[in-house]
Amino acid sequence: MSTGHANGVAPPTQADVVIVGNGALGLFLADELAERQAGSVVVVGPSDRDAGASQAAGAMLGCFGEATTESLRTDASRKRFELGVTAHDRWPGVIERLEPYSTTGSPLLVTPETHVVLNSIGAELDTVNFHAMLKALDEYGKPWAEIDPKEIPAYRPRPDTRALRAVHLPAEGAVDARGVLAALESRLRAAGTTLVDSTVRKLIRNNGEVTGVELADGHVIEAGSVVVAAGAHSEALVKTALDDLDTVPMFPGLGFAMLARRTGGEKFRSVVRTPNRGFACGLHVVPGPGDLEYYGATNRLVDKISSVTWMADVRFLAQYSMQQLDERVAAHEVVRWLSGNRPVTLDGFPLIGWLPVSGLYLMTGTYRDGFHCAPLIAEHVANELQGKEGTIDPMFKPTRAPIETRTIEWSINEYVEHNLAAWFEPGAEAAPQMTTQQIADYYRTMAVRFYDTVGIDYGLGPDILWYAQGSLLGARRVTRYFNRLKANAGAQPVGAGAKEA
């Protein structure tokens, strides 16, 4: 049964579990609970998923393709990386379970493989991340093979940005994100889970307990447990019940991608991507569904959630897809513009666990691989909701102090490296008498002055640092958060420290 205000049927007034959010995390959790027959479950979320990360996702089932120098550098980041490695193994079963419910007419698994290309339009960051990926593949015993870039189906970049190296990852593919979400909804309806097409205005708290949610139109659903899986909206929603709670701050990571129909030339048959790049996930094309191709993606941390698209991002994606992937992309027909807000935490780690008020659970903060990790996280959360032992490390609990993985000096170096990558890829040229070192010095000075100005002693990731030094609101949130932590002697940053793994 599916109900919602749109079709005139009143939503239910109570449930055992209300899940706020109908993205990948929320729907996979609902599916897991339905599979376990764990009582009545209601999922609340707008059917258009406007500005949500999942509906805009490329849904690459990639963890090694995403590997960077940071992935395995500390104990904490290694644990985070291994979440992806473990999640990867869940997908064959997930696809088998969902395929009968798919209505797209194309396989949900749009490709089982990935090609990662190393070209020279970026900066050194591409090279070091490419090497980090190979090292991680070897360390985990995963298959890969170096191939001639010319052998990658449909890969026809402009000669000046052609790759000189490429690897084939036969075990990392991609799914049709929008097809998977639709199939999940069909399966949930068939299982009797209620999907409510609405948003939650606030959580309802009675004394020390969250007892339900209030929808946008004032309708109340009472619940034994409420799970907030509302992506970038989650923090604000939690504050409606826990105003004083200082969870690790979250920021919307606004990204842009395009679904386009190929009008000529050879079709891509694999994910073709660069390594992860400056502040973002690298340029990639995901084939399918059907004759469509997905081109992604940009990433920019912003003050407010929105689904706007910047002209600069359109130019970036269109130009570099033509240059770096296939010249024929110029004639593609864009059928859908996708923009979504990734839930980005200040320390880069997810927020998964019970909150300090009875009946309220948080699952978000998965940044760019929430879709991929969702089936695994759903198992863990379902366990915790049922009072069983969780299956993933408790380090991601939302009440933690921020996890430290870098020193200030490391943060500054990383920031410089990411800026250089972002400088060269868009075609910026230094004046003839200027060296790359001078550009690096400029960014270094900016970063040093930022830390001097805000006076924090926590090493930020390059994306957070970039955002905070360009946004008064961002700088204030970061600064005040650490000031409060400092004032609260019991909550200094903990975790793996800057210790090498």
Binding site: D243, D244, D303, F450, T453, Q469, L472, A475, R476
Partner: protein, 91 residues
């Protein structure tokens, strides 16, 4: 906090002067001088914002966190007058 309007202006001017290091170079700052023409950058603006909030124990509303608010000593003073005490809010 009971601070007279003139002392708010003086305090703001002092904070701006410190951030932009103006009087050290013999420059006397007028209340309507455009700070962005006097060497203010996004980073000095950030430092100024934090110093203003700390000094007056206020939180500037989100809509005030923009370049225009920090254009002159006068515009900053007006924003300080309209802000809420920090104890009532959490950023």
């Amino acid at each position: 906090m009971t601070i007279s309007q003139s002392s708010v202006v003086d305090t703001v001017r002092g904070l701006v002067d410190k951030q932009l290091n103006l009087s050290a170079h013999g420059f006397e700052l007028a209340l309507d001088d455009d700070l962005w023409s006097l060497g203010m950058t996004s980073l000095t603006c950030m430092g100024l914002m934090l110093a203003i909030e700390d000094t007056f124990e206020i939180e500037l509303p989100e809509e005030a966190l923009q370049e225009a608010t920090f254009r002159t000593v006068n515009t900053i003073t007006a924003a300080v007058g309209a802000a809420r005490p920090m104890s009532e809010t959490k950023v």
